[in-house]
């Protein structure tokens, strides 16, 4: 339980937490931009925002994960190729191969192992953020539309510009409408983290498979039967714990946000404090 490889296993739990910690705010940012674009008065921007929201529904998210990892990698390499090796004339796609010049390779062929791993992790984070950003855009767009229209009209009557209305009236009020959707999204994000394994990251699923397996030539000093079942049971419990903790935390957050809002939840809080 304590040799170096097991430490890698424990470390991979932090990888999952790190992924959550980075992806959640970035995806929220993407979502905010997407929702803003979808609300925009400029038509192409509206299309862009709505298209972004629409495209990730209707198609399995795992397909997106697998698509974006390769597509992003190739997009980066292609861009670097164009900048770094302008004299290169061969086509990049040669039959079944994707060939860029040596200097444009990402990460560089000479880079140490950890750079490769970090780059892979970085790609995974971007992929998660793009996909979950679209989900968040959908939720935030709904939240913005749920804010009572009278509030916006009042703001206009006070002579606020569009921009002022958006930042001072709409944005502070939309969160309480968006929160149920966002908390659902957070749960989904937690449950999507094992998909890291499919993106080639050595995450908890990878190590659970490796360590639990028997007759593994690498770890002969720990001979045991097939324990993969127990490792995965441990992961199951880990995720159930995460879900439970999140549920309790989000409940508290909802209570705080409902404070002073013109919703039934806010009304309930008002009665509790005055009674």
């Amino acid at each position: 339980m304590t040799n170096g490889v097991h430490w890698l296993f424990y470390l991979s739990f932090f990888k999952v937490l790190l992924l959550l910690a980075i992806t959640a705010p970035v995806a929220l940012g993407f979502g905010f931009l997407g929702a803003m674009a979808a609300r925009s008065h400029i038509l192409p921007l509206t299309w862009l925002g709505k298209g972004y929201i629409a495209i990730v529904r209707g198609v399995p998210d795992i397909a997106f994960f697998m698509f974006f990892v390769i597509a992003l990698d190739q997009a980066f390499e292609w861009t670097r190729h164009k900048i770094l090796c302008p004299e290169w004339t061969d086509p990049i796609r040669q039959g079944n191969d994707f060939i860029v010049c040596q200097a444009a390779k990402l990460p560089l062929g000479t880079a140490p192992e950890w750079v490769h791993e970090t780059y892979g992790f970085f790609l995974a984070v971007i992929t998660f953020s793009i996909v979950f950003g679209a989900f968040a855009a959908n939720v935030l767009f709904g939240g913005m539309r749920a804010v009572p229209h009278a509030q916006l009209e009042t703001a206009a009557a006070y002579g606020m510009t569009h921009r002022q209305t958006f930042w001072r009236i709409l944005v502070p009020q939309m969160w309480v409408y968006a929160l149920p959707g966002l908390s659902n999204l957070w749960m989904v994000l937690i449950k999507a983290t094992p998909l890291l394994f499919l993106l080639g990251i050595e995450d908890i699923v990878y190590w659970a498979r490796e360590l639990g397996a028997f007759k593994n030539p690498k770890f002969t000093q720990y001979p045991h039967g097939d324990w993969r079942m127990w490792y995965f049971l441990a992961l199951l419990v880990f995720y159930l714990g995460m879900t439970r903790v999140s549920e309790i935390g989000l409940e508290r957050l909802m209570r705080r946000l409902s404070h002073g809002q013109a919703t039934s939840g806010g009304e309930l809080l008002r009665k509790e404090t005055t009674a």
Partner: protein, 268 residues
């Protein structure tokens, strides 16, 4: 080789009918379309079977969770929490290794480790838990008046359930249940990417799409094809569930009918 020929050779490839060897290089667009489409058979099989079987367990779970009896309520609550609170991906892994060790003690249970049965069981439990929660929510929002009216007519027990509670529950739950169904079809793509082995390269649609993307280093053709098939499947599911929705709402005046609002909830 013409495209018709390709479809004849590979159309049913995923269930083992037709050519054994799949193309190794120089894929035509037709081959990609045919093989990915052939893989869809698995997705549809998993989806439909899990939905049909899961529906009954979901009803039982919803009733159990709403029951006043602790011995019925607690197990249902735990079952729903267990399957909704953990990632489907991990459930697949756990189930596969669990079945694997079960097989060692009872060789009769050999079939459990193959995808067609083992993964189906996991999907069945999973969808039952998700839809059970949906049905439970609907059960709690059945209008009080409906049940009082049933009591006033002297209906009790089974006939009250069969004629009043169950149809109303389904009617209220149906839009959310449609989302769940769409979602289940998306989740079927995980089967062959978790532990369940692909036997003789007979995989599902995503398996073939991944195969092409791997061989050609070009994700821009197979994945859009996959997306096309799934959007098509989603539309068919919406259409079929819309028919049922119409039937469930047929006794109501037009203004009170529950519209199929599609709010897709996301991943599991």
């Amino acid at each position: 080789m013409s495209c018709i020929q390709t479809i004849q050779d590979y159309g049913l490839r995923s269930i083992g009918i037709g050519e054994r060897a799949i193309p190794k290089a120089d894929f035509t667009l037709c081959e990609q379309f045919t093989l990915i489409g052939s893989g869809m058979i698995w997705n549809i099989y998993f989806g439909i079977m899990a939905l049909v079987t899961g529906f009954f367990l979901a009803t039982a779970l919803a009733l159990g969770k709403a029951s006043t009896n602790v011995w019925l309520r607690k197990p249902s609550e735990w079952f729903i929490f267990l399957f909704r609170g953990s990632p489907l991906f991990i459930q697949f892994f756990f189930a596969y290794f669990f079945f694997l060790s079960l097989k060692q003690s009872f060789p009769l249970l050999d079939a459990l480790t193959s995808a067609w049965l083992g993964a189906l069981i996991v999907l069945f439990f999973n969808t039952a838990a998700y839809s059970g929660e949906i049905f439970y929510g609907a059960l709690r929002s059945i209008p009080k008046g409906d049940i009082e009216a049933a009591d006033a007519y002297g209906m009790t027990g089974w006939s009250r359930f069969r004629r009043i509670i169950w149809p109303t529950m389904l009617r209220l739950a149906w839009p959310a249940y449609t989302n769940e169904a769409i979602f289940l079809f998306h989740a079927t793509t995980l089967v062959f990417f978790s532990a369940f082995p692909v036997w003789q390269q007979r995989g599902d649609a995503l398996y073939y799409a991944g195969y092409f993307a791997d061989k050609t280093f070009n994700p821009f053709i197979p994945y859009p094809i996959l997306a096309f098939y799934f959007i098509l499947l989603t539309l068919v599911v919406i259409w079929a569930f819309g028919l049922v929705n119409k039937r469930l709402n047929r006794h109501l005046p037009a203004a009170k009918r529950s519209k199929m609002k599609l709010r897709l909830n996301l991943a599991r």
